[in-house]
């Protein structure tokens, strides 16, 4: 009950401070961190065959492996999106620009999270043309080429959606724009770790999403400026 009250207070103060500088952590901000691991049999990692684009082959001294099931030490899983699925309505919107790069015929990062209406800039850093085709269903789909030296594409998304992004010119280039209602999201690193910061006290649904291993959710309650550990275990399948 008291937590609820505090959460409401915090939300109210956040609402009042929405016009302030972005991402200023509220007075009493908690943190959720943890690791994502998997059980089960992994699909095989395969080298990406970039031979049709010699520019890109030369940028990678060792072959790049497919990125749809990247794992690290101790069964950790990379490129898992962890975000607040419920409980932070009214949080101040994220206003910083998300940068998405095309370099060496890869999308960097492989998975980018952003809030609805958050500005997104897409750069072509390669010495040749790329094509960006977000396969949106809820949002408006588009498909644009970006020749070498063309200005960055500036855009944003109106609705929450997990949007697969492909390059029509290089079929192996594949990534995700994860558009969320929340400003609180993270993508696991090479050790499967993530951190969500700036969470006012309250009860949250934390969701982990992976492109091949599915979705898991947990309820977490933050009482003050504390760090809660939340771990997820996803199930991997070989095919």
């Amino acid at each position: 009950m008291i937590t609820r009250y505090l959460a409401a207070l915090a939300l109210a103060s956040v609402g009042g401070g929405a016009a302030g500088p972005p991402h200023r952590p509220p007075a009493a901000a908690g943190t959720i961190s943890g690791k994502v691991t998997y059980t089960g049999t992994l699909p095989k990692l395969r080298p990406i065959d970039m031979s049709k684009e010699p520019n890109c082959v030369t940028q990678h001294p060792t072959p790049v492996m497919t990125q749809d099931a990247v794992t690290g030490p101790a069964n950790s899983v990379r490129y898992v999106v962890v975000y607040i699925a419920a409980g932070d309505q009214g949080a101040p919107p994220a206003t910083d620009t998300v940068r998405y790069d095309q370099k060496g015929c890869l999308y960097i990062p492989h998975v980018a999270t952003m809030q609805v209406h958050q500005p997104l800039e897409i750069f072509n850093d390669d010495p040749h043309s790329h094509n960006i085709h977000p396969l949106a269903r809820v949002n408006a789909e588009w498909n644009k080429s970006q020749p070498k030296g063309a200005p960055p594409i500036r855009t944003s998304w109106d609705q929450p959606e997990f949007i697969a992004v492909k390059c029509n010119v290089h079929p192996w280039m594949h990534g995700y724009f994860v558009v969320l209602a929340t400003p609180h999201s993270a993508v696991t690193d090479s050790t499967g770790s993530f951190t969500l910061t700036g969470l006012p006290p309250g009860t949250y649904t934390v969701t982990a999403w992976h492109e091949r291993f599915g979705t898991k959710s947990q309820e977490v309650t933050i009482a003050g400026s504390e760090t809660k550990t939340v771990n997820f275990v996803l199930t991997a399948r070989p095919y």
């Binding site: 031979s51 043309s129 079929p171 095919y239």
Partner: protein, 265 residues
């Protein structure tokens, strides 16, 4: 001005023909067993067309030279229209007969003969905007193709179903056409989305790839090396970048390469 016209036409005709004749820009060397016949056919056509081209342009130039600004009485062409009809019918007719008979044999040799028994079978998947090539793997059998499983994100370009289809598990899928030299190759061409075409200038092969059809194409490469394979049928925005390399290897190198490949999925 008639003389100027004649001079310009003559200059254009001779200069154009000379550039053809000197092979300043010409076909890359042929590296296939059937290509020499195509080249011969092309050369013979070039000689005949070249002679007709120069002759017609020079006739035009000469007649304009002589009649531009002429004051005297007009003259009819000796014999009237009859020599024209005879000339065109006989010259072009013979040319047509020769080209058709010889040319049909060349065409038939490429397209109307079955692939040699024991040809290396390679499946080709053409998609916006890349080619993928599939080798049967250790079991010598290709897994079935399931459109609903085709997905670039998981690199399942051929729609294989390794979960249920054991023949698919050892299929090898790569982005270059790697072939052994001097061994008959049979490609089976599939298109995943729209029309494409497979063109290797050095191999003297070109064939449209049509969705909904499986089109066979066979050839034998005679020289090792790396060549380019490009799409020649407008397939969308990335058409210009739709290409792959053909890597012709010695039989030993080819076997070694094949061993190093890991199964597709």
């Amino acid at each position: 001005m008639g003389k100027f016209f004649a001079a310009v036409v003559t200059l254009i005709a001779l200069a154009s023909a000379a550039i053809f004749a000197l092979h300043i820009w010409w076909l890359p060397p042929d590296i296939s067993t059937h290509g020499s016949r195509i080249d011969r056919q092309l050369n013979e056509t070039m000689i005949v067309a070249g002679i007709l081209f120069v002759a017609a342009q020079l006739a035009l130039a000469t007649f304009v030279w002589r009649s531009g600004g002429a004051r005297g009485p007009i003259k009819t062409f000796p014999g009237g229209a009859t020599p024209m009809v005879v000339l065109a019918t006989v010259l072009v007719g013979i040319e047509i007969l020769v080209l058709t008979f010889v040319g049909s044999k060349v065409w038939a040799g490429v397209y109307q003969t079955p692939a040699a028994p024991g040809s290396l079978q390679i499946e080709v998947q053409a998609e916006q905007f890349a080619f993928y090539f599939r080798y049967a793997g250790a079991d010598g059998r290709f897994g079935g193709m399931h459109p609903e499983l085709m997905n670039d994100a998981t690199e399942n370009f051929f729609g294989l179903d390794p979960a249920n289809d054991t023949t698919a598990r050892d299929d090898i899928v790569v982005g270059s056409l790697v072939i052994p030299v001097n061994q008959p190759i049979e490609l089976r061409l599939h298109a995943k989305d729209v029309n494409h075409s497979l063109y290797v200038p050095e191999l003297r092969i070109q064939q449209d790839i049509v969705p909904g059809m499986v089109i066979p194409l066979h050839f034998t490469a005679t020289q090792t090396g790396k060549y380019e394979l490009v799409c020649t049928q407008l397939c969308g925005l990335g058409h210009y970048s739709m290409r792959a390399y053909v890597d012709v290897k010695s039989p030993a190198d080819f076997m070694q390469w094949l061993k190093e490949q890991s199964p597709a999925l």
